[in-house]
């Protein structure tokens, strides 16, 4: 029906302009040199041989592992605990409190954490000192960065997912939980045998969407690098490295190779999602 085309036409325009064309452009730059001549995989090799590349890959990978594990464990755990709270106003208040930091996503959250991590001004100074950190410089030591970025990401991102998981738990038919209780299952067993399996598709959804965002790590390490006067390095993540390639070394070609690599990674993950989430397909 022609009308269908009419409804999607504006979206198609934007899809082509801002989805397809930049992707094609990125691929073009990744395989050509500054003069436009085709150079095969030379740019990929050059980018990979940069002394910062492997480290950046490692940083992002380590961060993703920390972040995704923390996210799943604590979001599911907290949603389950919340679900067992019987007083409705308390449950609602807690959910709101967990959710509010999401409003600070981005630069504002980094600013807040710059102060939370400084033993001289932080309300959690006693905790930092208990770990043996007396100065901001000690807190942002390179080996702590995956944990710090996970903390920041969790603080802004967990609340929304807890709210959604809580909603999903509410959708589980009460008689299933009741049946488990009658069988003698305790709280933990009910969770393991009834609730978590029914949450699985939401957990997968959450992991896949978060994975895509996690590989894009840029704002947090960039601002932290600035605020720590360089102690947290400026080429920590792949996106930062790509940015430096493009604007510090004026080399768009090696910068584009990182774009292409992250795109391929995204495609793989997206493919997994499409394959696994047939149950989202409403047809």
């Amino acid at each position: 029906m022609r009308a269908g085309h009419g409804f999607v036409a504006p979206y198609m325009v934007l899809l082509v302009a801002f989805g397809v064309v930049p992707t094609v452009y990125a691929i073009y730059f990744a395989f050509t040199d500054a003069g436009g001549a085709f150079v095969g995989l030379a740019n990929f090799v050059a980018a990979a041989e940069d002394f910062r590349f492997v480290a950046a890959v490692g940083h992002v990978a380590l961060y993703l592992v920390f972040w995704l594990v923390t996210l799943v464990v604590f979001v599911v755990g907290l949603a389950l605990l919340l679900h067992r709270v019987t007083a409705r106003p308390v449950s609602r208040a807690l959910r709101l409190l967990y959710y509010v930091p999401g409003a600070l996503a981005g630069a504002a959250s980094v600013l807040v954490w710059l102060f939370m991590l400084d033993p001289a001004v932080s309300p959690a100074a006693f905790l930092l000192r208990a770990f043996g950190f007396d100065t901001f410089g000690q807190v942002v030591a390179p080996e702590h960065l995956p944990v710090l970025f996970t903390l920041m990401a969790f603080w802004t991102g967990a609340g929304g997912w807890i709210v959604v998981m809580y909603g999903a738990l509410n959708n589980i038919p009460a008689d299933l939980v009741e049946a488990a209780r009658i069988d003698g299952a305790g709280a933990w067993q009910t969770a393991r045998r009834v609730q978590i399996p029914l949450l699985r598709k939401w957990i997968v959804y959450m992991v896949i969407l978060t994975f895509a965002g996690g590989t894009q790590l840029f704002v947090e390490p960039q601002l932290l690098s600035q605020a720590s006067v360089g102690v947290a390095g400026r080429d920590y993540s792949l996106n930062q490295l790509s940015y430096d390639f493009a604007f510090q070394n004026d080399n768009v070609n090696t910068a584009a190779t990182i774009s292409v690599e992250l795109l391929v990674l995204g495609l793989v993950v997206a493919g997994l999602f499409v394959a696994r989430s047939r149950f989202f397909d409403a047809d």
């Binding site: 009308a3 269908g4 085309h5 409804f7 504006p10 934007l14 801002f18 989805g19 064309v21 452009y25 990125a26 604590f74 907290l78 605990l81 067992r84 709270v85 807690l94 959910r95 709101l96 409190l97 967990y98 509010v100 930091p101 999401g102 409003a103 600070l104 630069a107 600013l111 807040v112 102060f115 939370m116 001289a120 001004v121 309300p123 959690a124 100074a125 603080w155 809580y166 999903a168 959708n171 009658i182 305790g186 894009q216 704002v219 960039q222 601002l223 600035q226 605020a227 720590s228 996106n239 790509s242 493009a246 768009v252 910068a255 774009s259 992250l262 997206a270 999602f273 499409v274 409403a282």
Partner: protein
């Protein structure tokens, strides 16, 4: 009839209360600190109790200093953020909702392909495309204009996907079939049947679009040549560069840390307001796919 429930079910475990309370502290104390920090002088920030209230006078002084920086540039940045996010919101809604509706409830050639492409593009990280996007926008001569930011913002495949899920599960097909039988054109069906029922998804897509665009850093950072055009998030980065504790070369006209805290509060205020009212349709919209007939 069993009268005794097993001892640990139905009674709140003290450990779970402690855990929930600790996390509540974790999530709220930093925000509380931010609000209090704006009321202090820099000296109080360092030497006083982190969670103490400063003074109204200090708050006024911080406000004056912050607005004095760059001659009220903070308001310019806030205005920019509002314009970019607002324009993008309108365009996104006009584009994504009909597209999602069409993908869900109409038949046309290539519908499945478009759906799969949307799913794929939705997952792909968009900040990897910023550099090629810059070159593309430059190639059409749009660098420096508001549209260079608003149009990329308006491309929101996730919004299309949410609308698709919503329309395919929340709208009874019988209703649409009846309307078509009555002689309504497709556009009429959309306007008179689907749209009135679409409030939740419009709110949801609008919410994600607005919040995502308001907090976007990388795209405006690369695409906008002048600091006057920055949205407030990128402006926060500029202010940060003028705080002596974070940048030793900042001299006499430096920004003090409490002023930075105040700037952060201003930057998040609109989003915070939206957040306070958004929980309900967040759950309703996200879980629409779970409640299938």
């Amino acid at each position: 009839m069993p009268t005794d429930a097993p001892a640990h079910l139905g009674r709140r475990n003290p450990l779970s209360t402690v855990v929930l309370a600790l996390f509540a502290l974790f999530f709220t104390v930093p925000v509380l600190w931010l609000v209090l920090a704006a009321t202090k002088t820099d000296d109080q920030l360092v030497h006083g109790n982190p969670l103490s209230f400063g003074s109204w006078a200090a708050l006024r002084a911080n406000w004056t200093a912050l607005t004095g920086f760059g001659d009220d540039v903070i308001f310019l940045w806030l205005r920019n953020s509002a314009v970019y996010a607002g324009l993008a919101l309108v365009i996104t809604l006009c584009v994504a909702v009909p597209a999602g509706y069409a993908l869900a409830l109409t038949e046309f050639r290539g519908r499945r392909t478009l759906l799969v492409v949307t799913l794929v593009v939705m997952i792909m990280p968009n900040s990897t495309l910023v550099v090629p996007l810059f070159l593309e926008v430059n190639a059409v001569g749009l660098i420096g204009s508001t549209w260079s930011v608003v149009l990329p913002y308006s491309f929101f495949p996730f919004g299309v996907y949410l609308a698709y899920i919503f329309f395919s599960t929340a709208l009874p097909r019988e209703l649409l079939a009846a309307a078509r039988l009555d002689g309504c054109s497709e556009l009429g069906v959309f306007r008179h049947v689907a749209l009135p029922l679409a409030a939740p998804v419009v709110a949801l897509v609008g919410f994600f679009s607005f919040v995502g665009n308001w907090t976007n850093y990388y795209l405006p950072y690369v695409l906008l040549p002048e600091s006057d055009q920055f949205p407030v998030q990128v402006g926060l980065g500029t202010l940060l560069a003028n705080v002596p504790q974070f940048n030793p070369t900042a001299g006499a006209l430096a920004v003090e840390r409490p002023q930075l805290a105040l700037a952060a509060l201003l930057a998040i205020a609109p989003v915070l307001v939206v957040f306070l009212f958004s929980q309900r349709f967040l759950v309703a919209g996200m879980l629409a796919g779970a409640t299938k007939e």
